[in-house]
Symmetry: C2
Subunit: 310 residues, 2 copies
Protein backbone atom coordinates (compact mmCIF):
# COMPACT_ATOMS: atom_id res chain seq x y z
CA UNK A 1 0.00 0.00 0.00
CA UNK A 2 1.65 3.19 -1.20
CA UNK A 3 1.17 6.22 1.00
CA UNK A 4 2.17 9.36 -0.86
CA UNK A 5 2.13 11.14 -4.20
CA UNK A 6 3.26 14.41 -5.77
CA UNK A 7 1.15 16.93 -7.66
CA UNK A 8 3.19 19.38 -9.77
CA UNK A 9 1.72 22.45 -11.51
CA UNK A 10 4.11 23.92 -14.07
CA UNK A 11 3.54 27.60 -14.85
CA UNK A 12 5.48 30.06 -16.95
CA UNK A 13 7.29 31.64 -13.97
CA UNK A 14 7.00 29.17 -11.07
CA UNK A 15 6.46 25.45 -10.57
CA UNK A 16 4.06 24.72 -7.72
CA UNK A 17 4.77 21.46 -5.95
CA UNK A 18 2.46 19.52 -3.64
CA UNK A 19 3.24 16.51 -1.47
CA UNK A 20 0.06 14.57 -0.68
CA UNK A 21 -0.93 11.41 1.10
CA UNK A 22 -3.01 8.98 -0.94
CA UNK A 23 -6.14 10.04 0.96
CA UNK A 24 -5.74 13.37 -0.79
CA UNK A 25 -4.44 15.50 2.08
CA UNK A 26 -1.96 18.17 1.05
CA UNK A 27 0.92 17.64 3.50
CA UNK A 28 3.32 20.25 2.16
CA UNK A 29 3.55 22.68 -0.71
CA UNK A 30 6.42 24.73 -2.08
CA UNK A 31 7.54 26.47 -5.25
CA UNK A 32 10.61 26.48 -7.47
CA UNK A 33 11.32 28.91 -10.31
CA UNK A 34 10.53 27.83 -13.88
CA UNK A 35 13.88 28.16 -15.69
CA UNK A 36 12.86 28.78 -19.29
CA UNK A 37 16.40 29.39 -20.59
CA UNK A 38 17.87 26.84 -23.05
CA UNK A 39 14.43 26.14 -24.47
CA UNK A 40 13.13 25.16 -21.06
CA UNK A 41 15.40 22.10 -20.97
CA UNK A 42 16.06 22.56 -17.25
CA UNK A 43 12.44 22.53 -16.17
CA UNK A 44 11.91 18.79 -15.85
CA UNK A 45 15.38 18.10 -14.32
CA UNK A 46 14.65 20.83 -11.71
CA UNK A 47 11.32 19.18 -10.87
CA UNK A 48 12.90 15.72 -10.63
CA UNK A 49 15.61 17.15 -8.36
CA UNK A 50 13.16 18.83 -5.97
CA UNK A 51 11.10 15.62 -5.77
CA UNK A 52 14.14 13.44 -5.18
CA UNK A 53 15.31 15.92 -2.52
CA UNK A 54 11.91 15.93 -0.80
CA UNK A 55 11.88 12.11 -0.68
CA UNK A 56 15.38 12.11 0.87
CA UNK A 57 14.54 14.94 3.31
CA UNK A 58 11.55 12.99 4.62
CA UNK A 59 13.49 9.74 4.79
CA UNK A 60 11.08 7.95 2.45
CA UNK A 61 11.61 5.02 0.09
CA UNK A 62 10.63 5.49 -3.56
CA UNK A 63 8.30 2.51 -3.39
CA UNK A 64 6.19 4.44 -0.85
CA UNK A 65 5.31 6.91 -3.64
CA UNK A 66 2.24 6.09 -5.73
CA UNK A 67 3.18 8.48 -8.52
CA UNK A 68 3.87 11.97 -9.81
CA UNK A 69 1.28 14.02 -11.64
CA UNK A 70 2.57 16.95 -13.69
CA UNK A 71 0.44 19.57 -15.39
CA UNK A 72 1.71 21.66 -18.29
CA UNK A 73 0.51 24.99 -19.76
CA UNK A 74 -0.25 23.56 -23.21
CA UNK A 75 -1.86 20.58 -24.92
CA UNK A 76 -0.71 17.22 -23.55
CA UNK A 77 -1.36 14.09 -25.57
CA UNK A 78 -2.64 10.86 -24.09
CA UNK A 79 0.83 9.28 -24.12
CA UNK A 80 2.11 12.09 -21.87
CA UNK A 81 4.04 13.97 -24.54
CA UNK A 82 3.84 17.64 -25.47
CA UNK A 83 4.35 18.97 -29.02
CA UNK A 84 4.48 22.65 -28.12
CA UNK A 85 4.20 24.68 -24.91
CA UNK A 86 5.05 28.27 -25.83
CA UNK A 87 5.19 29.60 -22.25
CA UNK A 88 7.86 27.02 -21.38
CA UNK A 89 9.75 27.56 -24.67
CA UNK A 90 9.19 23.87 -25.37
CA UNK A 91 8.83 22.07 -28.66
CA UNK A 92 8.41 18.32 -28.37
CA UNK A 93 8.95 17.00 -24.83
CA UNK A 94 8.25 13.51 -23.49
CA UNK A 95 7.18 14.61 -20.01
CA UNK A 96 6.27 11.19 -18.71
CA UNK A 97 9.31 9.41 -20.18
CA UNK A 98 11.80 11.98 -18.89
CA UNK A 99 10.28 12.26 -15.43
CA UNK A 100 10.13 8.49 -14.98
CA UNK A 101 13.76 8.17 -16.06
CA UNK A 102 14.95 10.85 -13.63
CA UNK A 103 12.87 9.78 -10.62
CA UNK A 104 12.13 6.08 -11.10
CA UNK A 105 8.51 6.92 -10.18
CA UNK A 106 5.40 6.40 -12.32
CA UNK A 107 4.39 9.75 -13.83
CA UNK A 108 1.31 11.12 -15.61
CA UNK A 109 0.95 14.42 -17.43
CA UNK A 110 -2.06 16.60 -18.21
CA UNK A 111 -2.91 20.08 -19.47
CA UNK A 112 -2.99 22.64 -16.65
CA UNK A 113 -6.60 23.75 -17.14
CA UNK A 114 -7.69 20.13 -17.23
CA UNK A 115 -5.73 19.46 -14.03
CA UNK A 116 -7.45 22.41 -12.33
CA UNK A 117 -10.81 20.95 -13.36
CA UNK A 118 -9.88 17.58 -11.92
CA UNK A 119 -8.67 19.23 -8.71
CA UNK A 120 -11.89 21.21 -8.25
CA UNK A 121 -13.89 18.06 -8.97
CA UNK A 122 -11.92 16.12 -6.36
CA UNK A 123 -11.48 18.52 -3.45
CA UNK A 124 -12.92 21.89 -4.51
CA UNK A 125 -16.16 23.48 -5.71
CA UNK A 126 -17.14 20.30 -7.53
CA UNK A 127 -16.36 17.81 -4.76
CA UNK A 128 -18.91 15.01 -4.82
CA UNK A 129 -19.68 15.41 -8.52
CA UNK A 130 -18.18 13.35 -11.30
CA UNK A 131 -19.60 15.10 -14.38
CA UNK A 132 -18.85 18.80 -14.59
CA UNK A 133 -17.60 21.64 -16.72
CA UNK A 134 -14.91 23.80 -15.12
CA UNK A 135 -14.51 27.32 -16.51
CA UNK A 136 -11.45 29.36 -15.52
CA UNK A 137 -12.03 33.07 -16.15
CA UNK A 138 -8.49 34.43 -16.09
CA UNK A 139 -6.54 36.47 -18.63
CA UNK A 140 -8.06 34.03 -21.12
CA UNK A 141 -10.65 31.32 -20.55
CA UNK A 142 -9.41 27.84 -19.71
CA UNK A 143 -11.53 24.86 -19.00
CA UNK A 144 -11.81 21.22 -18.28
CA UNK A 145 -14.50 18.66 -18.89
CA UNK A 146 -14.87 15.91 -16.32
CA UNK A 147 -17.04 12.88 -17.11
CA UNK A 148 -17.16 9.80 -14.88
CA UNK A 149 -14.55 11.43 -12.63
CA UNK A 150 -12.02 11.63 -15.48
CA UNK A 151 -10.94 14.62 -17.48
CA UNK A 152 -11.42 14.49 -21.26
CA UNK A 153 -8.00 15.19 -22.81
CA UNK A 154 -9.24 15.02 -26.40
CA UNK A 155 -7.80 13.70 -29.64
CA UNK A 156 -5.44 16.69 -30.06
CA UNK A 157 -5.04 17.62 -26.38
CA UNK A 158 -7.76 20.24 -26.91
CA UNK A 159 -10.53 18.73 -24.77
CA UNK A 160 -12.08 21.54 -22.71
CA UNK A 161 -10.60 24.37 -24.83
CA UNK A 162 -13.87 26.12 -24.04
CA UNK A 163 -12.46 29.62 -24.35
CA UNK A 164 -12.43 29.09 -28.10
CA UNK A 165 -15.99 28.24 -29.02
CA UNK A 166 -17.42 30.81 -31.42
CA UNK A 167 -19.74 33.23 -29.63
CA UNK A 168 -19.61 36.73 -31.11
CA UNK A 169 -20.66 37.34 -34.73
CA UNK A 170 -19.84 41.05 -34.89
CA UNK A 171 -16.27 40.79 -33.57
CA UNK A 172 -13.58 41.94 -36.01
CA UNK A 173 -10.45 41.72 -33.83
CA UNK A 174 -8.78 38.27 -33.94
CA UNK A 175 -8.49 36.08 -30.85
CA UNK A 176 -5.05 34.85 -29.70
CA UNK A 177 -5.92 31.50 -31.28
CA UNK A 178 -6.26 33.11 -34.71
CA UNK A 179 -10.04 32.74 -35.03
CA UNK A 180 -12.44 35.65 -34.64
CA UNK A 181 -15.34 35.84 -32.17
CA UNK A 182 -14.25 33.32 -29.51
CA UNK A 183 -16.06 33.49 -26.16
CA UNK A 184 -12.71 34.33 -24.52
CA UNK A 185 -12.72 37.65 -26.38
CA UNK A 186 -15.69 38.96 -24.39
CA UNK A 187 -15.88 36.85 -21.23
CA UNK A 188 -12.35 36.42 -19.83
CA UNK A 189 -10.95 39.08 -17.47
CA UNK A 190 -9.40 40.82 -20.49
CA UNK A 191 -12.45 40.05 -22.60
CA UNK A 192 -14.98 41.69 -20.30
CA UNK A 193 -12.89 44.88 -20.32
CA UNK A 194 -12.93 44.78 -24.16
CA UNK A 195 -16.69 44.23 -24.05
CA UNK A 196 -17.05 47.13 -21.59
CA UNK A 197 -15.27 49.54 -23.94
CA UNK A 198 -17.49 48.38 -26.82
CA UNK A 199 -20.60 49.15 -24.73
CA UNK A 200 -19.28 52.43 -23.27
CA UNK A 201 -18.63 53.71 -26.80
CA UNK A 202 -22.24 53.13 -27.79
CA UNK A 203 -23.88 55.02 -24.92
CA UNK A 204 -23.74 58.48 -23.35
CA UNK A 205 -24.93 57.30 -19.97
CA UNK A 206 -22.73 58.34 -17.04
CA UNK A 207 -20.59 55.61 -15.50
CA UNK A 208 -17.72 55.42 -13.02
CA UNK A 209 -15.92 53.42 -15.71
CA UNK A 210 -15.96 56.19 -18.29
CA UNK A 211 -12.71 57.82 -19.45
CA UNK A 212 -10.38 55.77 -17.27
CA UNK A 213 -8.37 52.58 -17.32
CA UNK A 214 -10.15 49.83 -15.41
CA UNK A 215 -9.79 46.10 -14.73
CA UNK A 216 -12.38 43.31 -14.54
CA UNK A 217 -12.19 43.73 -10.76
CA UNK A 218 -13.07 47.43 -11.01
CA UNK A 219 -15.93 46.57 -13.31
CA UNK A 220 -17.50 44.08 -10.88
CA UNK A 221 -17.11 46.62 -8.08
CA UNK A 222 -19.02 49.12 -10.22
CA UNK A 223 -21.73 46.49 -10.80
CA UNK A 224 -22.04 45.94 -7.05
CA UNK A 225 -22.14 49.72 -6.47
CA UNK A 226 -25.17 49.96 -8.79
CA UNK A 227 -23.53 51.59 -11.81
CA UNK A 228 -26.10 51.30 -14.61
CA UNK A 229 -23.68 50.86 -17.50
CA UNK A 230 -21.61 48.34 -15.52
CA UNK A 231 -24.82 46.37 -15.04
CA UNK A 232 -25.46 46.44 -18.81
CA UNK A 233 -21.93 45.15 -19.37
CA UNK A 234 -22.43 42.35 -16.85
CA UNK A 235 -25.72 41.43 -18.55
CA UNK A 236 -24.03 41.21 -21.93
CA UNK A 237 -21.19 39.15 -20.41
CA UNK A 238 -23.77 36.83 -18.84
CA UNK A 239 -25.62 36.57 -22.14
CA UNK A 240 -22.53 35.52 -24.08
CA UNK A 241 -21.11 33.13 -21.49
CA UNK A 242 -24.45 31.72 -20.30
CA UNK A 243 -25.54 31.01 -23.86
CA UNK A 244 -22.18 29.43 -24.74
CA UNK A 245 -22.26 27.18 -21.67
CA UNK A 246 -25.82 26.12 -22.60
CA UNK A 247 -24.45 25.03 -25.99
CA UNK A 248 -21.57 23.14 -24.36
CA UNK A 249 -24.02 21.50 -21.94
CA UNK A 250 -25.80 19.54 -24.69
CA UNK A 251 -22.54 17.73 -25.35
CA UNK A 252 -21.80 16.22 -21.94
CA UNK A 253 -24.90 17.24 -19.92
CA UNK A 254 -22.98 18.11 -16.72
CA UNK A 255 -24.32 17.95 -13.17
CA UNK A 256 -22.47 21.11 -12.27
CA UNK A 257 -20.67 24.06 -13.86
CA UNK A 258 -17.79 25.38 -11.73
CA UNK A 259 -16.57 28.93 -12.33
CA UNK A 260 -13.04 29.80 -11.21
CA UNK A 261 -10.09 32.01 -12.10
CA UNK A 262 -9.35 35.58 -11.09
CA UNK A 263 -12.73 36.95 -12.14
CA UNK A 264 -14.59 34.47 -9.92
CA UNK A 265 -13.19 36.39 -6.93
CA UNK A 266 -16.00 38.90 -7.51
CA UNK A 267 -18.21 36.19 -6.02
CA UNK A 268 -21.63 34.67 -6.63
CA UNK A 269 -22.84 37.77 -8.46
CA UNK A 270 -20.82 36.50 -11.45
CA UNK A 271 -22.73 33.22 -11.33
CA UNK A 272 -26.06 35.10 -11.18
CA UNK A 273 -25.45 36.88 -14.48
CA UNK A 274 -24.25 33.71 -16.21
CA UNK A 275 -27.03 31.48 -14.84
CA UNK A 276 -29.80 33.83 -16.01
CA UNK A 277 -28.85 33.38 -19.69
CA UNK A 278 -27.74 29.77 -19.29
CA UNK A 279 -31.31 28.92 -18.25
CA UNK A 280 -32.78 30.81 -21.16
CA UNK A 281 -30.78 28.86 -23.76
CA UNK A 282 -30.27 25.45 -22.10
CA UNK A 283 -32.01 22.31 -23.34
CA UNK A 284 -35.04 21.82 -21.04
CA UNK A 285 -33.62 18.76 -19.20
CA UNK A 286 -30.46 20.77 -18.40
CA UNK A 287 -31.97 24.10 -17.29
CA UNK A 288 -31.55 23.39 -13.57
CA UNK A 289 -27.87 22.41 -13.82
CA UNK A 290 -26.15 23.92 -10.79
CA UNK A 291 -23.42 26.56 -10.77
CA UNK A 292 -20.68 26.80 -8.14
CA UNK A 293 -17.57 28.85 -7.51
CA UNK A 294 -14.18 27.15 -7.55
CA UNK A 295 -12.63 26.99 -4.07
CA UNK A 296 -9.03 25.79 -4.47
CA UNK A 297 -7.66 28.94 -6.12
CA UNK A 298 -4.04 28.51 -7.21
CA UNK A 299 -3.85 25.07 -5.60
CA UNK A 300 -6.33 23.50 -8.05
CA UNK A 301 -3.51 22.40 -10.34
CA UNK A 302 -1.48 20.54 -7.72
CA UNK A 303 -4.63 18.82 -6.42
CA UNK A 304 -5.66 17.76 -9.92
CA UNK A 305 -2.15 16.59 -10.78
CA UNK A 306 -2.05 14.49 -7.63
CA UNK A 307 -5.50 13.03 -8.38
CA UNK A 308 -4.29 11.86 -11.79
CA UNK A 309 -1.98 9.27 -10.27
CA UNK A 310 -4.35 8.01 -7.56
Amino acid sequence: MKKYCFGIDVGGTTVKCGFFNTEGQLLEKWEIPTRTEENGSRILPDIAATINAKIAERGLEKDEIEGIGVDIPGPVKEDGTVDLAVNLYWGYVDVVGEMEKMTGIKTKALNDANAAALGECWKGGGAGYDNLIMVTLGTGIGGGIVVGGKVIAGAHGAGGEIGHGHAVDDMTEPCNCGNVGCIEQVASANGIVRLAHMILEKTDKPSVLRDKKFSAKDLWEAVKAGDEVADEIAEKFGFYLGRELAIYAVVTDPQLIVIGGGMAKAGTIVLDYIRKYYRQYAFPACKETEFALATLGNDAGIYGSAKMVL
Copy 2:
Protein backbone atom coordinates in the same frame (compact mmCIF):
# COMPACT_ATOMS: atom_id res chain seq x y z
CA MET B 1 -17.34 -17.85 -21.64
CA LYS B 2 -20.67 -16.49 -22.86
CA LYS B 3 -21.28 -16.60 -26.58
CA TYR B 4 -24.23 -14.43 -27.49
CA CYS B 5 -26.08 -11.21 -26.77
CA PHE B 6 -29.15 -9.29 -27.93
CA GLY B 7 -29.32 -5.71 -29.20
CA ILE B 8 -32.83 -4.24 -29.17
CA ASP B 9 -33.76 -0.90 -30.78
CA VAL B 10 -37.18 0.33 -29.66
CA GLY B 11 -38.87 2.74 -32.06
CA GLY B 12 -42.32 4.30 -32.08
CA THR B 13 -43.74 1.79 -34.59
CA THR B 14 -41.41 -1.22 -34.62
CA VAL B 15 -38.90 -2.85 -32.31
CA LYS B 16 -35.77 -3.99 -34.16
CA CYS B 17 -34.13 -7.05 -32.63
CA GLY B 18 -30.59 -8.31 -33.23
CA PHE B 19 -29.02 -11.58 -32.12
CA PHE B 20 -25.23 -11.28 -32.02
CA ASN B 21 -22.26 -13.39 -31.05
CA THR B 22 -19.88 -11.80 -28.57
CA GLU B 23 -17.38 -11.07 -31.37
CA GLY B 24 -19.96 -8.62 -32.66
CA GLN B 25 -21.33 -10.54 -35.65
CA LEU B 26 -25.01 -9.99 -36.31
CA LEU B 27 -26.35 -13.55 -36.65
CA GLU B 28 -30.03 -12.75 -37.10
CA LYS B 29 -32.32 -9.74 -37.08
CA TRP B 30 -36.06 -9.40 -37.00
CA GLU B 31 -38.78 -6.92 -36.03
CA ILE B 32 -41.87 -6.91 -33.85
CA PRO B 33 -44.52 -4.17 -33.73
CA THR B 34 -44.31 -1.58 -30.96
CA ARG B 35 -47.68 -1.88 -29.20
CA THR B 36 -48.20 1.56 -27.72
CA GLU B 37 -51.75 0.90 -26.42
CA GLU B 38 -52.30 0.86 -22.62
CA ASN B 39 -49.55 3.45 -22.18
CA GLY B 40 -47.03 1.21 -23.86
CA SER B 41 -47.22 -1.33 -21.05
CA ARG B 42 -46.95 -4.24 -23.48
CA ILE B 43 -43.73 -3.13 -25.11
CA LEU B 44 -41.24 -4.65 -22.68
CA PRO B 45 -43.23 -7.90 -22.17
CA ASP B 46 -43.34 -8.30 -25.98
CA ILE B 47 -39.57 -7.83 -26.16
CA ALA B 48 -38.97 -10.29 -23.33
CA ALA B 49 -41.25 -12.81 -25.06
CA THR B 50 -39.48 -12.58 -28.41
CA ILE B 51 -36.08 -12.94 -26.72
CA ASN B 52 -37.21 -15.93 -24.65
CA ALA B 53 -38.71 -17.47 -27.79
CA LYS B 54 -35.48 -16.93 -29.78
CA ILE B 55 -33.42 -18.59 -27.04
CA ALA B 56 -35.81 -21.58 -27.03
CA GLU B 57 -35.92 -21.77 -30.84
CA ARG B 58 -32.12 -21.93 -31.01
CA GLY B 59 -31.94 -24.48 -28.18
CA LEU B 60 -29.71 -22.20 -26.08
CA GLU B 61 -29.25 -21.96 -22.32
CA LYS B 62 -29.73 -18.56 -20.69
CA ASP B 63 -26.26 -18.70 -19.22
CA GLU B 64 -24.86 -18.63 -22.76
CA ILE B 65 -26.26 -15.09 -23.13
CA GLU B 66 -23.96 -12.26 -22.06
CA GLY B 67 -26.77 -9.70 -21.84
CA ILE B 68 -29.50 -7.66 -23.47
CA GLY B 69 -29.00 -4.07 -24.58
CA VAL B 70 -32.16 -2.02 -25.12
CA ASP B 71 -32.31 1.45 -26.60
CA ILE B 72 -35.25 3.78 -26.04
CA PRO B 73 -36.44 6.89 -27.93
CA GLY B 74 -36.06 9.25 -24.95
CA PRO B 75 -33.68 10.12 -22.13
CA VAL B 76 -32.46 7.08 -20.17
CA LYS B 77 -30.87 7.61 -16.78
CA GLU B 78 -27.71 5.87 -15.64
CA ASP B 79 -29.70 3.39 -13.52
CA GLY B 80 -31.55 2.23 -16.64
CA THR B 81 -34.85 3.95 -15.86
CA VAL B 82 -36.87 6.28 -18.07
CA ASP B 83 -38.98 9.16 -16.76
CA LEU B 84 -40.78 9.98 -20.00
CA ALA B 85 -40.70 8.60 -23.55
CA VAL B 86 -43.53 10.32 -25.42
CA ASN B 87 -43.33 8.17 -28.57
CA LEU B 88 -43.88 5.04 -26.47
CA TYR B 89 -46.61 6.69 -24.33
CA TRP B 90 -44.42 5.96 -21.33
CA GLY B 91 -44.13 7.80 -18.08
CA TYR B 92 -41.70 6.28 -15.57
CA VAL B 93 -40.49 2.82 -16.62
CA ASP B 94 -37.70 0.75 -15.05
CA VAL B 95 -36.44 -0.78 -18.29
CA VAL B 96 -33.53 -2.68 -16.79
CA GLY B 97 -35.45 -3.96 -13.76
CA GLU B 98 -38.44 -5.17 -15.78
CA MET B 99 -36.40 -6.80 -18.53
CA GLU B 100 -34.16 -8.62 -16.05
CA LYS B 101 -37.22 -9.88 -14.16
CA MET B 102 -38.90 -11.19 -17.33
CA THR B 103 -35.81 -12.75 -18.94
CA GLY B 104 -33.41 -13.55 -16.12
CA ILE B 105 -30.68 -11.96 -18.25
CA LYS B 106 -28.51 -8.94 -17.39
CA THR B 107 -29.89 -5.89 -19.20
CA LYS B 108 -28.63 -2.38 -19.96
CA ALA B 109 -30.59 0.53 -21.41
CA LEU B 110 -29.55 3.62 -23.34
CA ASN B 111 -31.03 6.45 -25.38
CA ASP B 112 -31.52 5.46 -29.04
CA ALA B 113 -29.36 8.22 -30.55
CA ASN B 114 -26.59 7.35 -28.10
CA ALA B 115 -26.91 3.68 -29.02
CA ALA B 116 -26.61 4.54 -32.73
CA ALA B 117 -23.43 6.51 -31.94
CA LEU B 118 -22.00 3.53 -30.07
CA GLY B 119 -22.95 1.20 -32.94
CA GLU B 120 -21.28 3.40 -35.57
CA CYS B 121 -18.21 3.69 -33.34
CA TRP B 122 -18.03 -0.09 -32.97
CA LYS B 123 -18.83 -1.46 -36.40
CA GLY B 124 -19.77 1.47 -38.65
CA GLY B 125 -18.37 4.75 -39.98
CA GLY B 126 -16.41 5.29 -36.77
CA ALA B 127 -14.92 1.80 -36.43
CA GLY B 128 -11.41 2.05 -35.04
CA TYR B 129 -12.03 5.37 -33.29
CA ASP B 130 -12.93 5.77 -29.63
CA ASN B 131 -13.57 9.52 -29.43
CA LEU B 132 -16.22 10.80 -31.81
CA ILE B 133 -19.33 12.88 -32.23
CA MET B 134 -22.17 11.15 -34.07
CA VAL B 135 -24.76 13.42 -35.70
CA THR B 136 -28.01 11.91 -36.97
CA LEU B 137 -29.70 14.21 -39.48
CA GLY B 138 -33.25 12.84 -39.55
CA THR B 139 -36.60 14.51 -38.93
CA GLY B 140 -34.79 16.15 -36.03
CA ILE B 141 -31.11 16.00 -35.09
CA GLY B 142 -30.01 13.28 -32.70
CA GLY B 143 -26.53 12.66 -31.53
CA GLY B 144 -24.17 10.76 -29.37
CA ILE B 145 -20.81 11.59 -27.86
CA VAL B 146 -18.35 8.75 -27.51
CA VAL B 147 -15.21 9.24 -25.39
CA GLY B 148 -12.85 6.38 -24.54
CA GLY B 149 -15.20 4.01 -26.39
CA LYS B 150 -18.10 4.84 -24.08
CA VAL B 151 -21.12 6.97 -24.76
CA ILE B 152 -21.72 9.98 -22.46
CA ALA B 153 -25.25 9.57 -21.08
CA GLY B 154 -25.17 12.82 -19.10
CA ALA B 155 -26.52 13.89 -15.73
CA HIS B 156 -30.11 14.18 -17.02
CA GLY B 157 -29.92 11.64 -19.86
CA ALA B 158 -29.28 14.58 -22.20
CA GLY B 159 -25.67 13.83 -23.20
CA GLY B 160 -25.36 14.30 -26.94
CA GLU B 161 -28.62 16.24 -27.36
CA ILE B 162 -26.74 18.13 -30.01
CA GLY B 163 -29.84 19.06 -32.01
CA HIS B 164 -30.61 21.58 -29.30
CA GLY B 165 -27.59 23.81 -29.10
CA HIS B 166 -28.49 27.42 -29.91
CA ALA B 167 -27.43 28.34 -33.44
CA VAL B 168 -29.82 30.80 -35.07
CA ASP B 169 -30.34 34.27 -33.59
CA ASP B 170 -33.02 35.49 -36.00
CA MET B 171 -35.36 32.50 -35.64
CA THR B 172 -38.80 33.32 -34.23
CA GLU B 173 -40.56 29.96 -34.53
CA PRO B 174 -40.08 27.73 -31.46
CA CYS B 175 -38.27 24.38 -31.66
CA ASN B 176 -40.05 21.19 -30.52
CA CYS B 177 -37.99 21.44 -27.31
CA GLY B 178 -39.53 24.82 -26.46
CA ASN B 179 -36.43 26.92 -27.06
CA VAL B 180 -35.95 29.13 -30.12
CA GLY B 181 -33.05 28.94 -32.58
CA CYS B 182 -31.82 25.35 -32.06
CA ILE B 183 -29.54 23.92 -34.77
CA GLU B 184 -32.20 21.26 -35.45
CA GLN B 185 -34.49 24.01 -36.76
CA VAL B 186 -32.24 24.68 -39.77
CA ALA B 187 -30.08 21.59 -40.21
CA SER B 188 -32.28 18.48 -39.78
CA ALA B 189 -34.16 17.08 -42.81
CA ASN B 190 -37.17 19.20 -41.79
CA GLY B 191 -34.92 22.07 -40.78
CA ILE B 192 -33.13 22.40 -44.10
CA VAL B 193 -36.52 22.61 -45.86
CA ARG B 194 -37.49 25.40 -43.43
CA LEU B 195 -34.19 27.13 -44.15
CA ALA B 196 -34.75 26.70 -47.89
CA HIS B 197 -38.12 28.46 -47.71
CA MET B 198 -36.54 31.31 -45.72
CA ILE B 199 -33.89 31.75 -48.44
CA LEU B 200 -36.30 31.31 -51.39
CA GLU B 201 -38.49 34.09 -49.98
CA LYS B 202 -35.59 36.52 -49.94
CA THR B 203 -34.49 36.08 -53.58
CA ASP B 204 -36.05 36.26 -57.05
CA LYS B 205 -33.50 33.93 -58.60
CA PRO B 206 -35.00 31.01 -60.54
CA SER B 207 -34.79 27.60 -58.86
CA VAL B 208 -36.26 24.16 -59.45
CA LEU B 209 -37.38 24.33 -55.83
CA ARG B 210 -39.55 27.41 -56.29
CA ASP B 211 -43.34 27.19 -55.88
CA LYS B 212 -43.49 23.50 -55.08
CA LYS B 213 -43.40 21.15 -52.14
CA PHE B 214 -39.97 19.56 -51.76
CA SER B 215 -38.07 17.34 -49.35
CA ALA B 216 -34.46 17.43 -48.13
CA LYS B 217 -33.76 14.70 -50.70
CA ASP B 218 -35.14 16.89 -53.53
CA LEU B 219 -33.02 19.77 -52.27
CA TRP B 220 -29.76 17.79 -52.36
CA GLU B 221 -30.65 16.56 -55.85
CA ALA B 222 -31.07 20.19 -56.91
CA VAL B 223 -27.67 20.99 -55.38
CA LYS B 224 -26.07 18.16 -57.37
CA ALA B 225 -27.85 19.36 -60.53
CA GLY B 226 -26.22 22.77 -60.12
CA ASP B 227 -29.25 24.79 -58.99
CA GLU B 228 -27.83 28.11 -57.78
CA VAL B 229 -30.35 28.76 -55.01
CA ALA B 230 -30.08 25.16 -53.79
CA ASP B 231 -26.34 25.71 -53.52
CA GLU B 232 -26.92 28.86 -51.45
CA ILE B 233 -29.20 26.86 -49.15
CA ALA B 234 -26.59 24.11 -48.77
CA GLU B 235 -23.95 26.76 -47.98
CA LYS B 236 -26.12 28.24 -45.24
CA PHE B 237 -26.87 24.75 -43.88
CA GLY B 238 -23.13 24.01 -43.87
CA PHE B 239 -22.43 27.32 -42.16
CA TYR B 240 -24.88 26.68 -39.31
CA LEU B 241 -24.01 23.02 -38.76
CA GLY B 242 -20.27 23.34 -39.39
CA ARG B 243 -20.00 26.27 -36.98
CA GLU B 244 -22.08 24.46 -34.33
CA LEU B 245 -19.95 21.31 -34.58
CA ALA B 246 -16.81 23.46 -34.23
CA ILE B 247 -18.27 24.77 -30.96
CA TYR B 248 -19.10 21.25 -29.77
CA ALA B 249 -15.59 20.10 -30.73
CA VAL B 250 -13.89 22.28 -28.08
CA VAL B 251 -15.72 20.27 -25.43
CA THR B 252 -14.55 16.72 -26.22
CA ASP B 253 -12.04 17.32 -29.08
CA PRO B 254 -13.15 14.29 -31.14
CA GLN B 255 -10.99 12.31 -33.58
CA LEU B 256 -13.91 11.98 -35.96
CA ILE B 257 -17.37 13.42 -36.64
CA VAL B 258 -19.77 10.85 -38.13
CA ILE B 259 -22.81 12.11 -40.03
CA GLY B 260 -25.78 9.76 -40.40
CA GLY B 261 -29.55 9.75 -40.64
CA GLY B 262 -31.77 10.07 -43.70
CA MET B 263 -30.11 13.22 -44.99
CA ALA B 264 -26.68 11.56 -45.07
CA LYS B 265 -27.99 9.39 -47.92
CA ALA B 266 -27.24 12.38 -50.19
CA GLY B 267 -23.61 11.32 -49.72
CA THR B 268 -20.25 12.98 -49.18
CA ILE B 269 -21.47 16.27 -50.68
CA VAL B 270 -23.24 16.86 -47.33
CA LEU B 271 -19.92 16.44 -45.53
CA ASP B 272 -18.22 18.87 -47.93
CA TYR B 273 -20.59 21.73 -47.06
CA ILE B 274 -20.33 21.04 -43.31
CA ARG B 275 -16.54 20.61 -43.28
CA LYS B 276 -15.92 23.92 -45.05
CA TYR B 277 -17.45 25.93 -42.21
CA TYR B 278 -16.30 23.57 -39.48
CA ARG B 279 -12.71 24.33 -40.48
CA GLN B 280 -13.37 28.07 -40.51
CA TYR B 281 -14.63 28.10 -36.92
CA ALA B 282 -12.77 25.19 -35.28
CA PHE B 283 -10.03 25.74 -32.69
CA PRO B 284 -6.72 25.45 -34.58
CA ALA B 285 -5.71 22.08 -33.08
CA CYS B 286 -9.08 20.64 -34.16
CA LYS B 287 -9.34 21.99 -37.71
CA GLU B 288 -8.24 18.73 -39.36
CA THR B 289 -10.73 16.56 -37.46
CA GLU B 290 -12.06 14.01 -39.95
CA PHE B 291 -15.65 13.65 -41.15
CA ALA B 292 -17.21 10.34 -42.20
CA LEU B 293 -20.61 9.07 -43.23
CA ALA B 294 -22.42 6.58 -41.01
CA THR B 295 -22.58 3.12 -42.61
CA LEU B 296 -24.92 1.00 -40.47
CA GLY B 297 -28.15 2.79 -41.44
CA ASN B 298 -31.13 1.49 -39.47
CA ASP B 299 -29.01 -1.22 -37.85
CA ALA B 300 -26.88 1.25 -35.85
CA GLY B 301 -29.23 0.98 -32.86
CA ILE B 302 -29.10 -2.81 -32.55
CA TYR B 303 -25.32 -2.79 -32.92
CA GLY B 304 -24.93 -0.10 -30.28
CA SER B 305 -27.35 -1.81 -27.92
CA ALA B 306 -25.44 -5.07 -28.27
CA LYS B 307 -22.12 -3.27 -27.66
CA MET B 308 -23.44 -1.89 -24.39
CA VAL B 309 -23.49 -5.34 -22.77
CA LEU B 310 -20.18 -6.58 -24.14
